[in-house]
């Protein structure tokens, strides 16, 4: 009996050590970054594609009054795991990322690891940003450093047990973070590849437009097939061709021109304006070039048709 107890204790200890080792947060060291002169203009494009301001800018009840250059954080994001308090990513040296190195920033976006070596929660969608090219990430960092420093630390997350144990995010990453930078498809056009890169990388469309499992990870087989809105309000549509032809706006086809202009002004081919959460997305995509929006449209309309979960039946 005593031997059994010792054996059990040893097994548990071994598991804990293994877990500890397996969940060591990955880091990109500075030595991995070759010499590079960043491009701030491309950084701005990445900032707009990424929609960083939509989460990180200091919130205002009137979304038109948000100053998109003041990234002091503070927006509260309610999820099934608790409420996340979006951090300050202004170049403030005390309360923002003013003292971060380039390698710190690349590590955050690619590996979901903070400069102090702890895990970042995947509420920050590094599951998408992991696809971003190194140069684009470095350009984005350079652009962020041109924005005004905003003093003020945010409150901090308010999460339910055991999601408040950051180390456990390491397990989540083991299971769900294994992409790596975007690999172009040589059989497709340059435009398609640009669209695929923007949509899956900085624009992180799948993070809202896909259903998630119980651990909050995207169900890959239903990527882009719609699901409950992460902010708890309503349903995010299926944007594969199966969904677009029976969208909430009606049963009609979307052309590439329709989708390109939609990404510019939120107007659907039916003459409606999508509004709700999509209006905030369009605030960012409307700042992209026509070519970039057309590339995104080209890619989205090429998605394989997928059925996602059905929205809950409305009471008649």
């Amino acid at each position: 009996m005593r031997r059994l107890a010792i054996a059990a204790a040893a097994a548990i200890a071994a598991c804990a050590v293994a877990l500890w080792i397996l969940t060591i947060p990955a880091v990109v060291p500075a030595s991995a970054l070759p010499h590079y002169v960043p491009g701030v203009e491309n950084g701005r494009t990445m900032f707009n594609a990424g929609g960083c301001a939509s989460c990180h800018a200091v919130p205002n009840e009137d979304p038109d009054k948000v100053d998109r250059t003041r990234l002091g954080g503070g927006l509260a994001l309610k999820t099934p795991f608790g409420t996340f308090d979006v951090p300050n990513i202004s170049p403030d040296p005390q309360d923002g990322i003013g003292r971060w190195s380039e390698a710190n920033f690349v590590t955050a976006l690619w590996k979901g690891t903070a400069p102090d070596g702890t895990n970042l929660y995947p509420e920050f969608p590094y599951t998408s940003f992991q696809y971003m090219r190194l140069d684009d990430v470095r350009d984005l960092f350079a652009y962020l450093k041109t924005l005004p420093p905003v003093p003020g630390k945010v409150r901090g997350h308010d999460l339910k047990f055991p999601f408040d144990i950051r180390r456990l995010v390491g397990l989540w990453k083991l299971l769900f973070l294994h992409g790596g930078p975007f690999v172009p498809d040589p059989s497709k056009s340059a435009q398609w590849n640009r669209g695929a890169y923007l949509v899956n990388g900085p624009a992180h469309c799948a993070e809202c437009h896909s259903p998630r499992n119980a651990l909050g990870a995207i169900i890959e087989s239903e990527r882009f097939a719609g699901g409950p809105s992460p902010d708890g309000n309503g349903w995010v549509p299926n944007i594969t061709p199966a969904g677009l032809s029976h969208s909430p706006f009606g049963d009609f086809q979307w052309s590439e021109q329709d989708m390109t202009s939609f990404l510019g002004d939120d107007m659907t081919p039916s003459g409606d304006f999508a509004g709700a959460a999509m209006a905030e997305v369009i605030r960012n995509t409307s700042l992209l070039s026509h070519d970039d929006r057309a590339a995104m449209a080209n890619y989205i309309l090429s998605l394989p048709p997928r059925q996602g979960p059905a929205p809950p039946k409305k009471a008649e």
């Binding site: 107007m267 409606d272 509004g275 959460a277």
Partner: protein, 175 residues
């Protein structure tokens, strides 16, 4: 109803008659109460009816507007030829929206079949009213300035921003 006849016939009959009247009074009061109750039910049903009507009216209005917006977009894209007379029709439809919208969101219409009106409308009535006023102003400005395709495009874009902005805050996401 009791009729008692006895030796003191007059008195008893009188008493009998009194109780008959009381019962009749009770009956009458009962009948009156029933009638009032039915009337109140009718009134409530009628106003419930009109609340759903209001929801239907505003949805019909919006459907007309998206048809107009679609027409405007097809002119701007060049799918149909630019027609100044049609632009006047389009702006008139939007102006009709702007004039009717303030009266189409009574308290009782917060819930009802298929309504996507967000509770925010009733939480921020001043802002909602202000946005409708801005919508009306932008329509008027577009009406005054539209004389060709380019000015029409600019005017329609400024109107569209109002559609979008209201739908962002005051219309629920699809569910």
């Amino acid at each position: 109803m009791s009729t008692a006849l006895g030796t003191d016939a007059g008195g008893v009959v009188f008493l009998g008659a009194l109780s008959v009247n009381q019962e009749e009074d009770h009956n009458m009061i009962r009948k009156l109460l029933v009638v009032i109750a039915i009337m109140m039910l009718g009134v409530t049903a009628a106003s419930a009816q009109s609340c759903q009507d209001v929801i239907n009216t505003r949805q019909t209005l919006m459907k007309k507007s998206i048809a107009m917006a679609r027409l405007a977009a097809s002119m701007i894209k060049g799918d149909v030829p630019f027609d100044l007379a049609k632009t006047k029709e389009i702006f008139a439809a939007f102006a009709n929206d702007a004039s009717q919208l303030p009266s189409l969101f009574p308290e009782c219409s917060k819930t009802g079949d298929h309504t996507r009106a967000s509770a925010a409308i009733w939480e921020h009535p001043a802002d909602f009213k202000a946005r409708i006023a801005k919508f009306a102003a932008d329509i008027k400005a577009a009406q005054d300035s539209t004389k060709d395709l380019d000015t029409f495009k600019a005017g329609f874009q400024s109107i569209g921003k109002n559609c979008n902005s209201c739908h962002e805050t005051y219309r629920l996401a699809p569910s």
